[in-house]
């Protein structure tokens, strides 16, 4: 489903954000991408959605060779990839329902499809009774569930989550991760970049660890690990270097 072949990404020709990464993620996998800030997790996700172009190497996503993908085909690739972010990226002037419906509307889905899909997905994320609320009337966890609903309403093959629990308390984070787990059980490939040691350790799923843009560990049933949060890896003092 996702394949990186010796992928390198340089920013402004200097900073090596991703350095010679090779990996393969199969359909239906649940993968944690771990590593300290600046280790290249977000860049990896942005490379998968074509928001960034590789400097060297090849990426295949959903059967497409991204280096050979025409720019006008990029939107069609993104319809196969749902994205969730730490800051939710919800539209404040739209209700929960409208936020989710918007994702279908702008890719030209007919109205009858929107009318059936949106309530179904809101039920899946447990927000069916809050569909008329605006984002600022919801808790952080609820807002993130709206954002997951929006990412998943089009039933993408892949769901990418960039620190989705970064702004949430531990209990809510746990709820959200189990929601992503449920989505994963429908056959959707889930890649989640995270700092959250508790979640990674509890889930016991595949863990890919990055450090300075390089792949340092890839375990089928891994834990958060020590190399990713050691003071040396973080490059800062242990006191203020801890992740949430």
């Amino acid at each position: 489903m996702i394949r990186f072949d010796n992928v390198t990404k340089l920013y402004k020709g200097e900073t090596r954000a991703v350095n010679g990464v090779t990996l393969n993620i199969e359909k239906g996998e649940f993968v944690f991408l771990v590593g300290p800030s600046g280790s290249g997790k977000s860049t990896m996700l942005r490379l998968m959605t074509c928001e960034e172009k590789v400097t060297a190497g090849d990426i295949h996503v959903a059967g497409k060779d991204l280096s050979k993908l025409n720019s006008w085909r990029v939107p069609y690739l993104r319809r196969n990839i749902g994205s969730v972010f730490q800051d939710f990226k919800l539209l404040p002037n739209k209700t929960v329902y409208q936020n989710v419906a918007f994702a279908l509307e702008v890719i030209g889905r007919p109205e009858n499809v929107i009318r059936t899909q949106v309530p179904a997905i809101l039920e899946l994320v447990g927000l069916e009774d809050k569909h008329r609320r605006f984002p600022d009337e919801l808790s952080g966890g609820e807002q993130q569930r709206v954002s997951i609903a929006r990412a998943f309403v089009n039933r993408p093959l892949i769901l990418l989550a960039d620190e989705p629990t970064g702004n949430l308390d531990p209990d809510t984070s746990q709820e959200l991760t189990s929601l992503l787990d449920r989505i994963n059980r429908t056959g959707t490939t889930v890649v989640m970049a995270t700092h959250d040691r508790t979640i990674v350790d509890r889930m016991r799923r595949r863990v890919i660890a990055l450090r300075h843009g390089e792949l340092v560990r890839d375990e089928q049933r891994g834990a958060y690990g020590s190399e990713t949060d050691s003071p040396e890896a973080l490059g800062v003092h242990p006191v203020d270097g801890a992740s949430p």
């Binding site: 993104r78 990839i81 918007f102 702008v106 030209g108 089009n154």
Partner: protein, 297 residues
Amino acid sequence: MSRIRYFARETWTNIRRNLTLTFAAILTVAVGVMLVGMGLMAGYASGNALDRWEGGVQFEVFLNPQIDPSQIDALGIELQTHPEIDRIEFFSAEEAYALVSQQMADQPELLAQVSPEALPASYRVVPRSVEAELIESLAAQFRQRPGVMSVQTGREEVDAIRTWFTSFQGIVLLLSIVLSGASVMLIFNSIRVAMFARRREIEVMKLVGATNSFIRFPFMLEGMLHGLAGGIIGAIAAGALRGHVEGLFSRSDILAFFRSFVVTSNQFTTVVFVTVIAGVLVGMIGSAFAASRFLDV
């Protein structure tokens, strides 16, 4: 259906959010395309007037005041029997004086200095053909005859008027190009502001895989609507201008010469069409420029 509703809704929200810039853009387009219409109408009017004038053109042979009466008759016969000449009309010095005193009725002190003897008698000659070259060659033939003071054709006047109108059109064209450029920039700016106001929506649209053309369309539509509104206002202004100028010409005796400077209703339809299209084009160029510049994948 849902698409049409989406585009209508988004475009309307954009316009409402951004009223002052929208008005500035629309008014600049209106003035710019009105000038386009004005230049076009000036061209039509001068064309119509000069056609009519050239069609009925005459030339006038002025005779020396000291000329012998027998010479006047001889010249008259020669003109009348000329194969290229249709008919002639004799204006005596007295008749010329009567005409002058009529024209100078409100300037008696100036008229007092004109004596009937000093004015030349003349033949007004209507040739068979209206071709300018033929008239010129006829005029040249009679210019050399004894007793002839001068021969005046309408050619110089026609040329002078044409030159005047051409430079007028040139100035109007230049102004309309400058204003159209300003309109493009204003529309460019108002679309850019609209995009900035909606940057979060645009970000989400890109995220979920909306195509570039889908994202751009409401903004292009908005720019086109600005242009269309400006074009329609400009066309109305051009129509008002046409009515005003034609009214002015037909009422005033001083401007009686301009009475034949009219724009036919067919030509005016073309003017309206061109101004509206010009407005829409300006809107399209401005918004397409903004959309392509600020909406990369």
